[in-house]
């Protein structure tokens, strides 16, 4: 398969998933139970902004909030990072049970050192992850997310990135739980997550 075909296939899966997650958000049902949800798995080998290589197994035992972006994105990526930072602050002691992961889809520009000067400014708990183009493509395929380079003459380096902007929640066993759509207010994520952490303890 070409990269484009893979991207499109992943987008279709996320479309199905998005519909499921939307239904859950509206009905306030506790769990996602769509067939599409079972397609989403966290499987990756990426380098953290601290230079340490991580796989999904390193985060088992914690709830993980996974989202995608790139540091040359001045609008939506800082917005999501700031929302997640607010969630981590508002969770209080429960925040110890949660690990937010910001995965770059822009391997050409986002080296670990670039993430190191950017991601922790939002919240010290957020870990930035990046990798080779192949590593990011493999991670994207496992999460069923879509990303692409959009040529843009005026943009720095001549391109901008389009990418999936939802936040993915995984439970401490590494199982996919749900999506939070872009723009979900921090208090809504906090109360949902807090209830799930309580229910499991």
């Amino acid at each position: 398969m070409t990269r484009l075909q893979k991207g499109l296939w992943a987008a279709v899966a996320v479309a199905a998933l998005g519909a499921g997650a939307q239904a859950v958000m509206e009905s306030r049902a506790p769990e996602v139970a769509t067939s599409a949800a079972s397609l989403v798995v966290a499987e990756f080998e990426l380098t953290g902004h601290d230079g340490v290589v991580r796989t999904e197994e390193d985060f088992w035992g914690k709830w993980t909030l996974v989202f995608f972006g790139f540091t040359n994105c001045p609008d939506i990526c800082p917005t999501t990072l700031a929302e997640i930072a607010q969630v981590m602050d508002d969770l209080g002691p429960q925040a110890d049970a949660v690990q937010p992961l910001f995965i770059s889809v822009d391997s050409d520009r986002d080296r670990p050192m670039d993430l190191a000067e950017y991601v922790p400014l939002f919240h010290p708990s957020i870990l930035g992850l990046t990798g080779t183009p192949d590593q990011i493509e493999a991670a994207a395929a496992s999460f069923k997310i879509f990303y692409e380079r959009v040529p843009e003459e005026d943009a720095p380096d001549g391109y901008m990135m389009g990418h999936t902007s939802q936040v993915f929640l995984f439970d401490p066993d590494g199982g996919f739980v749900r999506l939070y759509g872009y723009g979900t207010p921090a208090p809504e994520i906090t109360s949902d997550l807090s209830a799930r952490i309580d229910a499991r303890n």
Partner: protein, 153 residues
């Protein structure tokens, strides 16, 4: 959010049938302008604000100018049904008479490309909004923290 997108769509729609008579910057009030701090000058910066047209004629924003960035432009962020988000350049943004257009996170924004100096929290800079008739509205934009979520009150 939907409201913001539908409003942006409405703005575009109106532009297609805009009457030839257009007012300019003297009728536009710029409210709640703010920016996030940057790290150095290597990545684009962003500015948000509300542009309120208090006049009786539509106005069209055709450009921006600031000594902070060589290439300031209005971008639109859109998120499709699959949750994929993209940015695109807006050549013109029309504001109907008596209406306001919000530039806010996740929607329309001022993209500050080719920064001439770092954007430092606590400082501010001057941004001019240029209209189709050549007039301008100038605003002082305060720079908030990198993780700011909205304008300072």
């Amino acid at each position: 959010m939907l409201n913001r997108f539908s409003r942006a769509a409405l703005v575009l729609g109106l532009f297609a049938v805009a009457p030839p008579v257009l007012a300019g910057g003297e009728d536009v009030v710029v409210e709640d302008a703010w920016s996030r701090a940057s790290i150095g000058t290597g990545r684009p910066g962003v500015a948000y604000m509300t542009l309120r047209n208090t006049g009786a004629e539509p106005v069209v924003v055709t450009g921006l100018r600031t000594d902070l960035a060589m290439m300031p432009m209005i971008h639109s962020t859109t998120t499709d049904a699959q949750g994929v988000t993209r940015m695109s350049h807006m050549e013109a943004v029309e504001i109907a008479a008596g209406e306001a257009v919000a530039l806010a996170p996740g929607g329309l924004h001022v993209m500050l490309m080719d920064l001439q100096r770092p954007m430092v929290e606590g400082e501010s800079y001057t941004l001019s909004v240029i209209f189709a008739d050549g007039t301008e509205a100038t605003v002082d934009v305060p720079i908030l923290g990198i993780a700011a979520r909205g304008p300072a009150n």
